[in-house]
């Protein structure tokens, strides 16, 4: 008996389907991409049981003729590419010509369609292994396609589908991404007959972002734009303090195709380094338009992964466009009294408040009132009256500055009252300065009377030896001292009298925890972060007017001044708008 047999076409189809159709969201994706390619202005999606029972996508696109629909469900039928060269110039969403056939192999599919030119439409249902049956039907132009009972004929795969809620979650996320890719298109999702979301057509990306992320974030989005010949980068970036714990809020599109590409994700992370808290991810809408010849989208049937011909150049361009926008931005974290950030949540909260006629002060606390600001012996930190010449001088340049609780600096700005975290801001100022110095050369090292000898583990020793040059540039001279210790002969002069031992220990363990994959640049970066953190004024340090003045002055030009190097915000703004609302002035 021969050991190798040719698979029956039915089995082969199921295997091929498995690559394209993993779970209900795959159906949604294939259908919606077809709708987009068909020029739909409006797409309505209905699902049941998380898509396992039903996925129905209805659009108002171009529709298909009878001949089209007949071919649509045979493998490698596509209207989108004709010859192999086209594959390297793909500008449409779908192109492989295998999706519909694959879907027909694993679900009960019905499609109805009518092209604008035709007087009536056609309907086709396919239920394997029976052949497709086509009949005329009256309907509006566009296409409606539905797939029921996914994997009804492959129990083994069906078992692997998750709970309805989980599958619905995947679908919702994908559709949000699609909606954010095409703001001009109206898109809505219902599950078991109930509306999940509805994104009407809007004129801009910013408006679309507001649909899903609320007005506040939408308003704060910063625009980044740049690139080179054949590679255009456009992004809307939310201030880093709106960060999330996962990458779900990173929407990355290459030639309008939503992708989850590691290279681009890494580029985003790189651009945000030092601006966002560790293990947090920014909210970003990133659109990369690249000449189709430079990118291969045909890496995987789901097309979520892509390959760039010149990966380094793409990465570099994206990082530099994002960094430039980020570092020159001056994000302000607005103080609101509402907990929810979406308009809906705000409205609900507001009506509850009105109902009870009392304030609910959620969100950010407003700290100590100004009248408590005076401290015993506070040296001219308050502009008490006009005779305080020091304070008067301060007023001329930046407006009056007031220190509260030895921790916050309060000042007036164009749009409200700024509350600044002195430690966070000073940390950023020093960090930016240290980074700048490091780019030019090295920091000065203060030599020590007696070297600081610190015991190290073998892993730390290896890490230290690798990072010795980085340490040297920071003014730290390290030398192996026996088998399991290092002697440190000098220490960054900028740090003054601070605790050398614990800083060095922190640096060493941080360094070895970073693993071997860390580059010199990364090592320097985290060293600079630690330095800045330790060298900055602390909460509780009373600052004189001149010190306040000089801190604000330096902060004015510091790159990335809206966040400390760990990504926490440096200032909050209580807007005049918000004040007026709270005082019921409007």
């Amino acid at each position: 008996m021969p050991r190798i047999e040719i698979l029956p076409s039915e089995v082969a189809e199921k295997i091929a389907a498995g690559e394209v159709i993993e779970r209900p969201v795959s159906l949604v994706k294939e259908f919606v991409e077809n709708s987009i390619d068909a020029g739909a202005r409006s797409i309505t999606i209905d699902v049941e049981k998380g898509g396992k029972g039903l996925v129905r996508v209805a659009d108002d696109g171009a529709g298909m003729s009878r001949e089209d629909i007949e071919l649509a469900f045979s493998r490698h039928a596509t209207s989108k590419i004709r010859v192999i060269d086209d594959l390297f110039n793909v500008r449409t969403m779908g192109f492989r010509g295998e999706a519909l056939a694959s879907i027909a192999a694993v679900a009960r599919v019905t499609a109805g369609t009518r092209s604008a030119q035709d007087q009536s439409g056609w309907e086709v249902s396919i239920e394997p292994p029976a052949a497709a049956e086509i009949r005329p039907v009256g309907r509006a132009p566009g296409t409606t396609i539905e797939a029921r009972d996914l994997f009804f004929n492959i129990p083994a795969r069906k078992k692997f589908l998750k709970r309805d809620q989980t599958e619905l979650g995947h679908i919702t996320r994908y559709l949000q991404a699609a909606a954010l890719g095409f703001p001009g298109m109206s898109l809505s999702l219902s599950s078991n007959g109930r509306k999940v979301f509805s994104a009407p057509a809007v004129e801009s990306l910013r408006r679309r972002a507001a649909t899903f992320y609320g007005e506040d974030i939408a308003e704060d989005l910063v625009e980044a734009q740049g690139g080179r010949e054949g590679l255009k980068v456009h992004a809307l970036i939310a201030p880093p303090f709106y960060s999330r714990v996962n990458r779900y809020s990173q929407y990355i599109y290459v030639n309008n195709r939503y992708v989850r590409d590691r290279l681009l994700q890494a580029a985003v992370s790189q651009a945000f380094r030092g601006l966002i808290e560790p293990n947090r991810f920014p909210i970003i809408f990133l659109y990369v338009n690249i000449s189709p010849a430079e990118v291969d989208v045909n890496v995987h049937p789901t097309k979520m992964e892509i390959r760039f011909r010149n990966a380094n150049s793409v990465r570099g361009t994206v990082i530099s466009v994002l960094s430039e926008a980020l570092l020159s931005a001056d994000f302000k974290s607005r103080i609101t009294f509402e907990e929810g950030s979406t308009p809906r949540a705000q409205n609900i909260r507001r009506s509850i408040e009105d109902f009870y006629e009392r304030r609910v002060a959620g969100g950010v606390e407003i700290g100590t009132p100004a009248t408590h600001a005076g401290r015993s012996g506070g040296s001219g930190s308050l502009t008490r009256d006009g005779t305080d010449t020091e304070a008067a001088a301060a007023h001329v340049q930046t407006g009056p500055l007031m220190q509260v609780r030895g921790t916050y600096i309060v000042k007036e700005s164009d749009d409200g009252i700024e509350i600044i975290d002195q430690h966070a801001l000073h940390e950023r100022v020093i960090y930016a300065e240290v980074r700048r110095r490091l780019e030019e050369g090295s920091l000065q090292g203060q030599r020590l009377l007696v070297p600081e000898v610190i015991e190290v583990t073998p892993a730390e020793r290896t890490a230290l030896e690798k990072a010795r040059d980085a340490f040297g540039r920071l003014g730290i001279e390290a030398e192996a001292f026996g088998q399991d210790a290092f002697a440190f002969h000098s220490f960054p002069a900028v740090l003054g009298d601070m605790d050398r031992r614990s800083l060095l220990q922190a640096l060493i363990s941080d360094l070895s925890a970073g693993g071997h994959g860390r580059s010199m640049e990364e090592a320097l970066d985290s060293l600079a972060e630690l330095l800045a953190c330790h060298a900055a004024v602390r909460a509780g340090d009373i600052l004189g007017t001149e010190e306040l003045q000089s801190l604000m002055e330096k902060a004015r030009s510091a790159q990335g001044r809206f966040a400390c190097p760990h990504g926490r915000p440096t200032k909050l703004v209580l807007t005049f708008d918000e004040l007026e609302r709270r005082f019921r002035r409007k």
Binding site: Q446, R447, L449
Partner: protein, 366 residues
């Protein structure tokens, strides 16, 4: 309890007590000072549990009516006794308050429970080490500035004191510079090595009614007492090992500069103007009989100050934190100081002709 006192004496007592008492807030009772009236005088005690003060007001500054003791908030009493406009102030316990009156002012201050206040130990009745007050003040002044402020090596947070072979040594270091002061004492005297917290030492000078008064010192296992006729400061000793400071003194120096103290001080202060926060260093260039001190702030400019000096050795460039040099020069009163050096990366030793030796580490020249 009832007592009448000279206003100035009372104000001074509470000021001293307040300086000791203010720092801690974890035990609110420590914000108070204990007043004990007995034997025709009054003692004011305060403590933060590390340092304690017993301040005496003698019979000539007060008139005891009735003996007793009372616990009062040190800070508030310092304010009251400073501001009453009268030469004499009366303290009188009445029911739950202490009535503080002087001139036409009357304050009723609520008292705390005397029993809650920890006992500040008296100087043990043993023969103390007796030191010349002026000398001790000078030794303190020339070392205390070099004490480390933030070190987790607690030993560096105090001044190390010891008498070896009839020489008393006081030394302080923060790891970047070391200030050592030696003074001959009576051959018979001895004192085991002890590290005294900076805060305690800074109070001792105030115990002297005039600079000539001698200071008595007595060390116990973990405590040190300083006393004069005006009172006693007792302090917990800093535990830990002081670094082997004698080994730090550079021995193979081959370059020596002799410089006017005030001239160098002025040059350092001027050059320091032109330094920036992240690079506080000035360059000293020794060449022949010329010293050039240069300060440079990367984005702001530079300053260069020339000085005539006496110099032996090859030309040398060395970079210092200007504050380190300024600290030492300010503590000294000598007309001239000498700098012994070897190279730009090794320690320099500054001397002023007394028992003062200051070792300062340079900043790397990059």
């Amino acid at each position: 309890m009832e007592i009448a006192l000279k206003r100035e004496a009372l104000a001074e007592a509470f000021q001293m007590a307040h300086a000791i008492a203010t720092t801690r807030t974890t035990r609110p009772v420590l914000q108070n000072a204990l007043l004990s009236v007995a034997d025709g005088g009054m003692t004011v005690s305060a403590t933060d549990m590390e340092i304690g003060l017993r301040w005496n007001i003698s019979a000539e500054d007060c008139r005891v009516v009735r003996e007793g003791s009372v616990l009062l908030p040190a800070g508030r009493m310092a304010q009251i006794s400073r501001s009453i406009e009268a030469d004499e102030i009366t303290l009188r316990v009445a029911d739950k308050t202490c009535v503080v009156s002087g001139g036409r002012s009357v304050f009723e201050v609520l008292m705390e429970n005397v029993e809650d206040f920890p006992q500040v130990p008296e100087m043990p009745d043993e023969a103390p080490l007796v030191l010349d007050g002026q000398k001790f003040a000078e030794m303190t002044r020339k070392t205390i500035f070099a004490v480390a402020r933030e070190s987790t090596r607690y030993a560096l947070n105090g001044v190390h004191m010891e008498i070896v072979d009839g020489v008393m040594e006081m030394v302080a270091t923060d790891g970047r510079r070391m200030a050592l002061m030696k003074e001959k004492v009576d051959k018979q005297t001895s004192m085991p090595a002890a590290i005294v917290p900076q805060k305690a030492l800074s109070q001792v000078e105030k115990l002297q009614s005039d600079k000539d008064e001698t200071v008595n010192i007595l060390t116990r296992e973990r405590q040190v007492f300083f006393s004069t006729s005006r009172g006693t400061v007792v302090s917990r000793l800093v535990e830990g090992h002081f670094p082997p400071y004698r080994e730090v003194v550079p021995k193979e120096t081959d370059k020596k500069a002799t410089i006017s103290r005030t001239g160098l001080l002025s040059a350092m202060r001027q050059a320091a103007i032109m330094t920036s926060e992240d690079s506080r260093s000035v360059l000293l260039a020794f060449a022949g009989a010329q010293l050039t001190v240069t300060g440079r702030a990367p984005d702001e400019g530079r300053g260069e100050i020339g000085l005539d000096i006496e110099y032996e050795g090859e030309d040398l460039e060395i970079r210092f934190n200007p504050q380190f040099i300024i600290d030492a020069l300010s503590a000294s009163e000598a007309e001239k100081v000498t700098l012994d050096m070897k190279e730009g990366s090794s320690p320099a030793a500054l001397k002023d002709g007394t028992g003062f030796l200051y070792v300062v580490m340079p900043i790397n020249i990059v």
